[in-house]
Subunit: 373 residues, 2 copies
């Protein structure tokens, strides 16, 4: 790696850090960070804070509060927009500011726009370097990248399993598969996604809060429960997500078959119901996706146990998987694992993850990637 | 990290590379590497090639072919011996050579000797730095470390599984769970261990060669087959490991119950049989260990499928596990997984790995560690 490349990566890494200041707060926009560098020193920083406010480039220029020095560079994690939305084209702002060099991380994921911003800058005589830490910069915006290309929400499944793919002991005891540090990472991803979803079984068994708790900060995403028959309303104890401060953020997904009595109970608790068609013996996730799109929910983090994991994997319900794996074996065939009794004939019939990313948490590992369809 | 620490790690890393020149060839001795450094430059290198030949320190001193310069350092991956065996105490050689500074990786794993070599050197007025890349240096000698403390062979299980802990499709098709690069790493570990073991089922299903093939080099370890009833001698096709060039390196482990007729067939093929007692419904591995110790076999690499994996894990038959895991799900409950129907009551009842080490092979991962007892 040349000295210039090393320097570019260093400043891009700073821009990535800046982008992450707005972790989970920019939907449907991407997280973007920008750093202005004069003579090898970062002199101003900016990031996109929330949709409707300044893009990162403009925020950095405003933070500088003067014209950049001759020869100044700006590092941006994402290709600057060349079409003026709510905030004006960033390419214009960069040209007007008079930058000599623009260094870009990821290209615009929207095929029709990709490269156009770079072209505009080059035509204006600016030196443009692209693809610096491109994978990491693109990885930052899993939800945005999916939304902008598919116009459908990004659905990710999350599971915590042993090396032999088990979620809990035969008794149901599951606290904990992974350690504290891996569980803290889950909180971070709960904050990333605008919505979280779990099965009715998880609600009945764990009575979870489904909030993101990072230090003292508590944040509650939109909460969905997959509950075809509304059995979570049958229990004597009312689950906390139906009565806590964030109860208005809870929506229960049910089927036509759900009983009127239980529907009434949900209504009494002021819990919103979404009735969905069924497909392959479970709620139709395609319909769920569309309903989320209508509700402007751009990403859903589905925390799965073995049953939901099997549906998610075999029916390709999710776009992406987060697999936390603890370095231990349960070694118990009396415990349900992932999968249906599908009598596979070849190792070609596996469900593989691609564009893998790995992280390590005190011995536990996170493997995440796109689920092949 | 200080500049001195960084420098020490750099030269120790070189010593580690040197040690590995003798990968798998030094049993029952450890692999050890040594680098002599004068004025910040490596001027001579050595490693322990094979039991009975020079220790690494002496090899490096001989390679230098003169007195080290004033102020010279020597980097050694393992604490120098202070007791004279076949080759004389290395501590004496270092003192006589006149080194100013000795930098050590791992301490002598034998509790009664640990630190004694360092003491001898310090008493002679030499500056001794210990613990540089200590974990990596100790990890190099899994077999030696175990043998020297337990006087029993080191048994390691190896498996290649999916994220949901499966070894093959329902049809038995298993080529391949992991990719080429992970399989090449298996060849490397086959070369590390003096012996390899597999189940009778593996022999019947795959008819493997159980050799280590690295580039053009083919090497055959001692080969063991766990075959309680000698069913591998019942097949119409004779497995290649009973007839190939290395057939004298094959030993079949059977029980008292094995039929006389099949014993005769084994004798006709000149295949050695070890009759072992049984324990918990399988061959008694404790007896196997002792028999290996008598035969001066110091380490066994057991390649396991689901049945053997379950025994190895639940009955703690192995000391260590190599778990290769591919980033994919088989998602098929018609395929046997790891474990017995043991009705676990708590996540405390797991079988954990400790002293973990991770490696990555084109998306596949190796997690290895000691199996808790």
């Amino acid at each position: 790696m040349s000295a210039t490349q090393a320097k570019d990566e260093r400043f891009m890494r700073r821009a990535l850090e800046l982008a992450q200041q707005a972790w989970g707060q920019t939907h449907p926009n991407p997280m973007v960070g920008a750093a202005i560098v004069e003579a090898g020193v970062v002199v101003a920083e900016g990031w996109h804070v929330i949709a409707g406010q300044d893009h990162a480039e403009v925020a950095a220029i405003k933070a500088l509060g003067r014209k950049p020095a001759a020869g100044a560079s700006i590092y941006v994690t994402l290709e600057p927009c060349s079409t003026s939305g709510r905030t004006g084209a960033c390419t214009n702002a960069l040209i007007e500011a008079g930058f000599a060099r623009v260094v870009i991380g990821a290209k615009d994921p929207y095929p029709e726009h990709a490269g156009r911003g770079l072209e505009v800058l080059r035509e204006a005589g600016i030196e443009v370097v692209e693809g610096v830490l491109a994978e990491e910069c693109a990885d930052l915006n899993l939800i945005f990248n999916h939304w902008i290309t598919q116009k459908l929400p990004f659905i990710a499944g999350k599971m915590a399993i042993t090396l032999d793919g088990k979620f809990a002991a035969a008794s149901g005891h599951s606290k904990w598969v992974t350690g504290e540090s891996a569980r803290a990472d889950v909180m971070r991803w709960r904050r990333y996604f605008p919505a979280i979803a779990v099965s009715a079984n998880t609600v009945l068994k764990d009575n979870p809060s489904l909030s993101s708790r990072i230090g003292d900060e508590v944040w509650c995403p939109q909460r969905f429960v997959f509950d075809r028959t509304l059995k979570t309303f049958e229990a004597d104890t009312i689950p906390q997500i139906y009565t806590d401060t964030y109860a208005p953020k809870t929506t229960v997904l049910c089927a036509d078959a759900a009983s009127d009595c239980l529907r009434t109970r949900a209504k009494d608790l002021n819990i919103m119901l979404w009735q969905l068609p069924e497909a392959k013996g479970h709620l139709d996730w395609q319909a769920f996706r569309k309903r989320c799109a209508e509700a402007k929910i751009y990403g859903i983090y589905v925390e799965v146990g073995p049953t939901l994991a099997t549906q998610v994997i075999e029916d390709a319900l999710a776009d992406y998987l987060f697999v936390y794996q603890a370095p231990k074996f349960l070694s118990d065939t009396s415990v349900p694992g992932i999968g249906s009794h599908r009598n596979s004939q070849s190792m070609e019939e596996v469900f593989a993850l691609r564009n893998l990313r790995h992280a390590s948490f005190d011995g536990d590992r996170l493997i995440r990637g796109f689920l092949s369809k």
